[in-house]
């Protein structure tokens, strides 16, 4: 069984990259020559993928942008994922779906993510506890990417609450590291807007756990601070994610070319601090 970690580390090395790129199309932000076309999302995505597949360590489409358009959106998400498997089989695909239900219901989400879409990992909410996520945790071949400390401005409302002298997110990190990660397939979401929290989480979970780090680019997270705080074993261990900043680098017919330029800059910027 190839694990998510193996696949990720291979793409990190092959593309010398810790950069994940988003595939999150929004109808009115697409280049004007694509707007209104029936497969506009798929065409946009293939442009970004062709232009960046030797630059990224992962792609992370967010399910919400496709679900917004019902079955047609879901079909374009599936077509996008099939396309990545075809042209960039070494690049793992993370479905950002932020799912989490009780055990037997999660089987339905597993079927959506792994049987139908065939992605390599999915993002999950921890609030219902580890028993609820067991169907995801049991999949040795897939990554279970669990929210720990998010990047949105109000993420601390509950995540920073003091629990016996430490913030809640530290308990979440420790519990995942100590109890949920028996198949060595857990990844933590730690926002780039919170480098000091990231440093503390790295101390807690050790150098082998991988962090998915959203929030660089449009959300304003600091690349240098995040890389220095989060880097794990072998100068790897972090997936630095950029969405809008790269996807929408240009709204013209050169959108893919400009996305590539921006992706190379971001990848190299990250590598400066490794």
């Amino acid at each position: 069984v190839t694990s998510f970690f193996d696949k990720l580390n291979q793409s990190v090395d092959a593309n010398n990259s810790l950069l994940s790129v988003g595939l999150d199309p929004v109808a009115d932000r697409l280049p004007s020559h694509l707007q209104g076309r029936p497969q506009a999302f798929f065409e946009f995505n293939t442009g970004i993928i062709d232009a960046t597949k030797d630059i990224v360590c992962a792609y992370k489409p967010n399910s919400a942008f496709y679900e917004a358009h019902g079955p047609s959106g879901i079909e374009q998400l599936k077509a996008t994922i099939d396309y990545i498997h075809e042209v960039a089989p070494h690049v793992p695909i993370i479905l950002d779906a932020k799912r989490g239900d009780i055990g037997n219901t999660n089987e339905g989400y597993l079927a959506f993510c792994y049987d139908y879409l065939n992605v390599d990992a999915v993002t999950l909410h921890p609030y219902m506890g580890g028993d609820s996520l067991q169907p995801f945790l049991a999949r040795q071949d897939k990554g279970a990417i669990i929210m720990c400390r998010n990047s949105n401005p109000g993420a601390g409302e509950f995540q920073d609450l003091d629990v016996n002298g430490a913030p809640l997110y530290e308990h979440v990190a420790r519990q995942i590291s100590d109890s949920w990660n028996t198949n060595n397939n857990c990844v933590l979401v730690v926002g780039a807007t919170a480098p000091s929290e990231m440093k503390r989480i790295r101390e807690i979970v050790g150098e082998d756990m991988i962090f998915l780090v959203p929030g660089i680019g449009a959300q304003g997270g600091d690349i240098e601070a995040s890389v220095k705080a989060g880097l794990g074993a072998n100068n790897r261990g972090i997936i630095m994610h950029s969405g809008r900043d790269i996807m929408y680098a240009s709204s013209g017919e050169d959108f893919a070319e400009q996305a590539r330029t921006r992706a190379v800059q971001t990848r190299d910027d990250i590598n400066t601090y490794r």
Copy 2:
């Protein structure tokens, strides 16, 4: 604007019911005469709906069971919701989707739930904080049903953690009641397997907030204890949800008839304690 609360209270009174019924089809649990048919989920659901639409206060399809089958599943979910609007326009529809992402991404989930599917309320994860859920909280016409204390056996792993002398779920309940509920559209998920926690949450949030109470039936929650602990103003204020116990009351051609019998029993059982 008709609010979720108005619509719910009307169905509670019209059907003299606090019972919500699930529409969560699983291929190999369907009655054998429906198995393998292309619209099997929709046909199953219409059978349950026809048989129970004068008995329930709400329907709660869980998105996972449809997503598991890709676009065809989503289309049958949409057809099911359209059917409820047609034959039971007074009964509100809760999409159990347990969503929750950052603000601009939640707009995609809003489009899925409200523009495409046209449900009346959706279930949400609180972990990322109130600012992340703002697009849902801003919808005065729709219910934002937020997980507080769940019914799965391991729900307490984080939800029961002690935060300044009170469990986390109490902080979540208080924060939603005090800060998130400015549009009077928040509902709390409180499992029937935790009646003492439910009693405490009712004390915190007062008698006007509605609870969605999963866990009766197959999950073993106690109806009497839950109703007594959770009941709010005007002997309403709780949505007692039963899924498998009613949907799969029979696996024969009489599945709808048996579901009705079981639904009537459950509704009446709940009403005994109002």
